[in-house]
Amino acid sequence: MTNSDFFAARDIHEACTRLSQSGKEAHILAGGTDLMVAINRRRLFPHKLIYIGQSGMDGIEVKDGHLVIGAAATHTAVIQSKAVKDHAGLLVDACCSIGSKAIRNIGTIGGNICNASPAADAATALLALGAEVKLVSAHGERAIALKDFFTGPGETVLQPDELLKEIILPLTKGDSRWGWLKVGQRKADVIGIATAAVSLRLEHGTCRDVRIALGAVAPTPLLAAKASAMLEGRTADESLISEVAQAAADETSPIDDTRGSAWYRKQICGVLVKRILTAATK
């Protein structure tokens, strides 16, 4: 396809080259489930689209001691992947709550990240899983922690000539525990009012590698670092869990919007963290 408005990249190299030539005029298109909503609502008029859905960027594999998920992998592919189930069950749970079957069939994990919604379900789960993202341009690659990727609602560190290539996750080890909870007004096709994702490892009853992430309660998906640190190296009991849940809620800075009030969001995300930790540390 050589048309200037729509370019279907056959591989990542083509996508990067085209992007470096087009710069800010071009939008990367994967599944289109977020992009088309913006276009249909007349919020976005992309002059050029670079389609990466058939660029081979959708692989999911265990490589060099890591789980590597191609940015163009659909949510359905992530859910059905044995490698993801074995090493990132939390991500399966989160992806199952994205949109509906019809959205998950075509929407991609990379799109969920790059759209940079504060409420992005996969992105929130990936924060709790300690994900790194690999960004690529015609000039090279760089890997950064996902927690450093988001800069605000809809905003990321991606440069105009860069695209997200893949997500890199550490493999789970030992007795890994996780939990995912989402509060919304409907079970499907809903943007979370608040979401919570927790990943940790139990070592003789002691919590290790604790990561608590929250969605829809801050300008970006939020890694609640202070709350996570409070539980690190300690044995969870009811009072500690309550303290950690409160600390997580304290780290949020939610807003009032049509989905819920700031007050409610703060309350409910503490409740979600408490529920997850209580179940996960049993």
Partner: protein, 158 residues
Amino acid sequence: MPVLELKVNGNDCQVLVEHTTSLLEVLREKLMVLSPKMGCNTGDCGACSVILDGMLVHSCITPAMVASGKEVITLEGISASGELHPLQKAFQDNHATQCGFCTPGMIMAAKALLDENPKPTEPQIKEALSGNLCRCTGYKKIVESVMAASADNPASGS
């Protein structure tokens, strides 16, 4: 303007589209395939559901060019012989249609489910239809229709 080549209900089609045109617009306005409906146009209501290369999608938020070289099945294409598909028959027998606006999307979502799982449980049916809204509040009869169609489904072995 890009040229889109795709197969719709068994027919090869060639259409000139804008790069931002949705698959729904192509179906309804270029090809006059009118069963997929524009409800929300934001992927929330499911009235535009079609099957793209075997997978259920919301055609309103599927860029038409993404369907390039692929096959689209709409309600018009599920009964080649002109006889009602078992799902259509079940919707008729169980009075699952009120205003009818959501029905094509409901049936396509149900078909995608039965293609994958010929004998679903009621919770599985509800989950599979959870992306489709009926504003006449007729879900009970819709779910019963899918149950009935799956019971009659030759692939279900019953």
